[in-house]
Amino acid sequence: MASPDKLLRVENLALHFRTRRGPVQAVDGVSFELKRGPATVVVGESGCGKSTLARAILRLLPRNVDAYRGHVWLNGTDVMTLSEEAFRRQVRWVRMSLVSQAAMNSLNPVIRIGDQVAEPLRVHRIATGKKEALRQAGEVFRLVGVSKDFLGRYPFELSGGMRQRAVLAMALITKPDIVFLDEPTSALDVLTQTNIMNVLKGIKHDLGVTFILITHDIATSSELANRAAVMYAGQLVELSDARLFFREPLHPYSQKLMASVPTLREDKKLEFIPGRPPSLLEPPTGCRFADRCTSRFGKCEEEPPFRDVGGDRWVKCWLHA
């Protein structure tokens, strides 16, 4: 089904949560594919479903799941059909890992950092023995720019930037193909953020890890982006080669979003988007952006397809269908 050069292919993925007020369609009908190597950034505003998308692909589900369906092909295997046990043994953290949004603040305060970073090796029985595990932890520490001396320290002895590097090391230690990074630098100061982006660039280049970077910070996302994806109200509305996207986004929402990003060096008339995103409890049946869109027309009452418009670009908009 999936073509061989595709590392990951997601088809019609949906994850809805049960709440007192009804199901929240946090991710609803997302499809995309990606090759090994190029980094994809997923941008979109708070609550549009970015973190939920990563969780759906990694099958990290909370208790209140209302619906969970779709296909996730990893190297040609639909991992959605695997049992939880098989998924845990073969996929999560082995092939795909995650630096979650709050990871650097959820390190265990009473366990030495080296042991925490090495933990995935023991859980997945990859390393034999504690000594070997720590040796490998030391190696990934070097990759992320932390001295081996830190292996024996506790989280509180590390600065924010060092803790973020440690959780990155934890996501890399099993040598996965894909690493999801959920807002990895948002809590850090600008210089530290830049240093960490430099580390990510180096790892992408040297190890060939395929990163999927989730962020609301569009300017910073361009530091890693080979491809850019835009989410709106639980759906992907655009996926594109980054060079094309940053120059000329195609979806009306992407255009407005880009026009609202301030630039330091060039003078630009900033715009904002009137109105607010629809509720995910009962999202509109047609295009979810329609009632804020200045290019809206009759057809927009129907849901547009997420269409390949050529040149590694997909857009979910009737203007491009």
Binding site: E45, S46, L191, N195, K201, S222, N226, A242, S260, P262
Partner: protein
């Protein structure tokens, strides 16, 4: 617009006491350590600095919410320190508005919009008839319109942008002379950030308000004010016009900051940026001399690590606290 000084701050220090076992003094966090600046009536300035650099401490000190350890603050001719502090504070509350970082936390959840806006008026004994008119006007100004749609809503029924507009309405409802806005847009999405900044700017201009806009995001600065101060580790290290700072940053820290900030540009993915390693120092044990010297590539041993740099003015109106500019003469 009259151009007299509205706020004058001299060598202001705010240190937090560190206590051991909740009792013994174990030292100080020098969150604000010798800050000097003037704000003219009707002007807007921006203070930019990274997390922990002391921005909120500066805001709270100016607002009278934390007492300064040392230094002088004069607002519209009133001294805000020393013996008369109690009286000065009461006066201050009516003359300075505050826009907080997290709009939701700033708004009492069980009060309606109407009550939230009415409360400061009641406390300041504004007559009942005037109250309604002021509420209507303030809501109009922040575009919470039609007013009747919002008056009976509770904060959780408003979007983040609307909540922040409500916080701004509350900050201006007593017609203050100065508004301090501490990261007013950092919790908001990009698509509404600009709207709130522009709105704040418009309110500032129509009322000739003095505004101190505090942010960690240098890229928003040029959309708000002409003048900017850069903070690092409890000190203002550079003061300049926004354009001048962007094109000709003097302090090595400002230079690093400008290098670090990305504009959305696909070429970024192919370049590695040279920025200093390390992280800002602990404010309980700041480095001696210049606080940036351990990370600075221009560090002059024997000088930068020993003596605190003075404020130099190498070009008119552009100040830097850095020994590299010592030939330029002090200010």
């Amino acid at each position: 617009m009259t151009h007299e000084t509205l706020l004058s701050v001299r060598e202001l220090r705010t240190w937090y006491e560190l206590r051991k076992w909740g009792f013994f003094r174990a030292g100080y966090v020098k969150a604000l350590d010798g800050v000097t600046f003037d704000l003219k009536r009707g002007d807007a300035i921006t203070i930019v600095g990274e997390s922990g650099s002391g921005k909120t401490t500066l805001a709270k000190t100016v607002l009278g919410l934390v007492p300064p350890t040392q230094g002088e603050m004069i607002l519209a001719g009133e001294h805000l320190d020393g013996q008369k502090r109690g009286k000065a504070l009461a006066w201050l509350r009516g003359n300075v508005g505050f826009v907080q970082q997290d709009p939701y936390a700033a708004l009492p959840p069980f009060m309606t919009v109407d009550r939230i806006l009415r409360e400061p008026l009641v406390i300041n004994k504004v007559s009942k008839g005037d109250q309604d008119a002021r509420i209507d006007a303030a809501m109009g100004e922040v575009r919470l319109t039609p007013q009747s749609d919002f008056l009976h809503k509770y904060p959780h029924m408003l979007s983040g942008g609307q909540q922040q507009r409500l916080v701004i309405a509350r900050a201006i409802i007593l017609q203050p002379q100065l508004v301090v806005a501490d990261e007013p847009v950092s919790m908001l999405d990009a698509s509404v950030r600009v709207e709130i900044l522009q709105l704040l700017r418009r309110v500032q201009e129509t009322h000739g308000l003095g505004v101190i806009y505090i942010t960690h995001d240098l890229s928003t600065v040029r959309y708000f004010s002409e003048y900017v101060f850069v903070m690092y580790a409890g000190k203002i290290v550079e003061k300049a016009e926004v354009r001048e700072l962007i094109h000709n940053p003097l302090h090595p820290y400002s230079q690093a900051l400008l290098t670090a900030i990305s504009d959305p540009d696909p070429d970024n993915a192919d370049t590695v940026k040279e920025v200093p390693a390390g992280e800002p120092p602990s404010l309980a044990h700041p480095p001696s001399g210049c606080r940036f010297h351990p990370r600075c590539k221009h560090h002059m041993p024997g000088l930068c690590d020993r003596e605190e740099p003075k404020s130099f003015e190498p070009t008119p109106g552009h100040f830097a606290e850095c020994w590299l500019f010592r030939q330029g003469g002090t200010s």
